[in-house]
């Protein structure tokens, strides 16, 4: 036997082994993914059967309403993760999004309380939100800082600016737009719930039905390939951060309407936003973030808190369960990515 044949034989057996390993791993991934979805379904089924009033239309609309703010924020986060890639440590992430919402809410409420109209106040909130987004883009794309660190720093900038502006106080606000968001309804569904429906539809259209969305997935999935295909990668990534800031501003207006004020402590929402965007990936076959997946997980998180309350289970459990789910999903996705990498 010559050395070359020996070499090819070893190579072939290696490949066979790798293929077998891959196949079992892929199977494992499917099992884990379906397991996660089955767990979601089981929890929901349990609520349907045992939580009194869970399935009433009134209650379900309540949950959609309660999910609107989280949903809009989670879409921003989802876009950043799509564009930056879903690697948890090095991929796209916007830790500043909740603090940015707090800042935008403070700007919006402060301007309203100073007597400026909705038009100017909304414009200012959007401008501030997008400016913070642009700051993220500058740090990540321009300076090449790891998104995890860059947006963590910007989180502090935004939170500090909010504190400076409000002195950590509650700033009450009233306006025609806020009154409409609070009490307006159409077909028995409140304006806030409609806001979630509308934003979801727009986001799904942009991300999943335009060539822009397709290119964005290409940028996140394989930046070198995207660059080779002539896509302006830095522009796309920057865009996601600015859009995330825009989402923060939209969410801030919804928040002010719901709380009739801007209040300190918006940063607390970050964990839920991250949970929603990460959980959403289990609803896609390739574990990529999708708008539909994020919407489902936002509603799931809302239903979780709601179901627990209806069952009279302590609200302290909700945070714990949320944390456990994040851990599960991150484990599942890294497992899945392992199989893709070794392919």
């Amino acid at each position: 036997m010559s050395a070359t044949t020996l070499h090819t034989e070893i190579g072939a057996s290696d490949e066979k082994q790798a293929a077998a390993k891959n196949a079992s791993r892929r199977l494992g991934t499917i099992v884990v993914r379906l397991g996660a979805i089955a767990a979601f379904a089981a929890i929901m089924l349990y609520f349907v059967v045992f939580a009194p009033g869970f399935t009433s239309t009134f209650n379900l609309i309540n949950v959609v309403e309660q999910s609107a703010i989280l949903g809009v924020l989670a879409y921003g986060m989802t876009m950043v993760i799509i564009g930056g890639g879903s690697d948890v440590t090095e991929g796209g992430i916007d830790l500043s999004i909740a603090a940015n919402m707090g800042l935008c809410a403070a700007v919006y409420a402060t301007l309203l309380s100073m007597g400026y109209g909705d038009f100017l106040a909304v414009l200012a909130a959007l401008a501030v939100g997008m400016a913070i987004g642009a700051l993220n883009a500058l740090a990540v794309v321009g300076l090449g800082i790891l998104p995890l660190l860059a947006t963590l720093a910007v989180l502090n900038v935004a939170a500090g600016m909010e504190l400076t502006l409000t002195q950590n106080t509650v700033v009450g606000a009233t306006s025609p737009l806020l009154a409409f968001l609070v009490s307006g309804s159409f077909l028995g569904i409140s304006a806030l719930a409609w806001a979630l429906v509308l934003v979801s539809a727009i986001m799904i259209a942009i991300v999943h039905y335009t060539s822009f969305g397709l290119r964005l997935f290409a940028v996140g999935g394989h930046p070198e390939a995207a660059r080779a295909a002539g896509i302006n990668v830095p522009f796309y990534i920057s865009f996601t951060y600015v859009l995330s800031g825009f989402c923060a501003a939209v969410a801030s207006i919804l928040t002010v309407s719901r709380l009739s004020a801007s209040t300190p402590g918006s940063g607390e929402l970050l964990l839920s936003v991250l949970a929603a965007a990460l959980l959403g990936t289990v609803f896609s076959r390739r574990f990529v973030p999708t708008i539909g997946g994020t919407l489902l997980s936002v509603l799931f998180i809302g239903l979780l808190a709601n179901g627990f309350q209806l069952l009279n289970v302590s609200s302290y459990w909700v945070n714990g369960v949320q944390g456990a789910l994040i851990l599960l999903v991150v484990a599942v996705t890294s497992f899945a990515r392992g199989s893709e990498a070794s392919r």
Partner: protein, 333 residues
């Protein structure tokens, strides 16, 4: 039977009758106060502070004692979460809702919705026109007493550092307004502007650094006479800061009576001047009694005051003890 013996018998009979009637009255009250088969929703903005936790526990324990079912909701200091919890609670249609503290500006539209849904609303330490009854301490009294104690300790003149971060919380508004009212009569006591902002969370650390900064800014002894806060958690940080800076001429004043602060006031070497100690557990329980009375068709006043005690350097050894004993019993240090 002699006249005096007759008198004694008569007196005894009368006493017995009175005792019987008293027993029967209290028996009737005990009988009437029942929440059997009732579901009571309880919503608290947070329970991270001693006062909040004790009141929240008092409510839950009393509902259970009276045979009711309690839906207990702690929003963990998140307005967003409290609103969501209240919204779901309204859909659950409990027999009554007790709301404990929070930002009135945020809460009021939702408290209105509770009333619109026909659910009797009771509040703890939260004055709002939407509640049938607000059970609380007499904050007008407390506010004036602590302010007067401070003025007395200062000898009627000097500068005060004031924490005023929670004016939107009704009880803080009352206490602060009372402070201002008292100070109006003592023009030589001045509040240092701008006022300080107490925060949640990190209240103690933040108060510590605020006071340290202010003392550094006014280094001459006597330039600052006192520190005031509408609750006592900032007082902890302030007291530590004063002691660390060695400025023992500055005394601190606060309200609530957390065990830690009571111990500070008891300690003659501590800079804690006085604290108005409330009975949060009893406040929670009394609120539930009011719910039970209302559901039994009895008339309930718009507010119920549970007594509070001013603990100062002179009386602390005596007055502080029962409060510390209660805290120990509850397992809170």
């Amino acid at each position: 039977m002699s006249k005096s013996a007759k008198g004694i018998v008569k007196g005894l009979a009368l006493g017995l009758a009175l005792a019987c009637s008293l027993v029967s009255v209290s028996g009737a009250v005990a009988e009437e106060l029942s929440l059997k088969g009732k579901r009571i929703g309880v919503s608290a903005i947070g329970t991270d502070h001693y006062w909040d936790l004790m009141a929240f526990r008092g409510i839950q324990d009393r509902v259970k004692e009276l045979g009711g079912e309690v839906i207990a909701l702690d929003a963990g200091r998140k307005d967003q979460q409290q609103i969501a919890q209240l919204q779901t609670l309204i859909a659950q249609k409990p027999d009554a809702i007790i709301e404990q503290l929070g930002n009135l500006e945020v809460l009021n539209p939702w408290l209105q919705k509770i009333r619109d849904a026909g659910i009797p609303l009771f509040t703890v330490d939260t004055a709002t026109p939407h509640a049938i009854n607000n059970t609380t301490s007499n904050n007008y009294n407390i506010g004036a007493e602590i302010a007067l104690q401070m003025v007395a300790d200062m000898g009627g003149k000097g500068n005060v550092l004031v924490f005023n971060g929670f004016y939107s919380v009704p009880v803080c508004k009352i206490r602060y307004d009372q402070l201002k009212y008292v100070l109006a009569s003592f023009p030589e006591v001045k509040i240092v502007e701008p006022e300080l902002r107490d925060v949640i969370p990190n209240t103690v650390q933040s108060a510590y650094s605020n006071i340290t900064d202010m003392l550094t800014k006014s280094p001459e002894k006597g330039s600052i006479g006192a520190v005031w806060a509408c609750w006592d958690v900032p007082q902890i940080g302030a007291t530590q800061a004063v002691e660390a800076a060695g400025r023992m001429e500055v005394k601190t004043y606060g309200i609530d009576g957390s065990p830690e602060v009571i111990k500070m006031v008891m300690d003659q070497k501590s800079a804690a001047g006085a604290v108005a100690a409330q009975q949060p557990y009893e406040i929670g329980q009394t609120s539930v009694d009011n719910v039970a009375k209302h559901l039994a068709g009895q008339k309930v006043p718009p507010f119920t005051f549970v007594p509070a005690v001013l603990i100062n350097k002179e009386n602390a050894a005596e007055t502080g003890k029962p409060f510390l004993a209660a805290a120990e019993k509850a397992g809170v240090k």
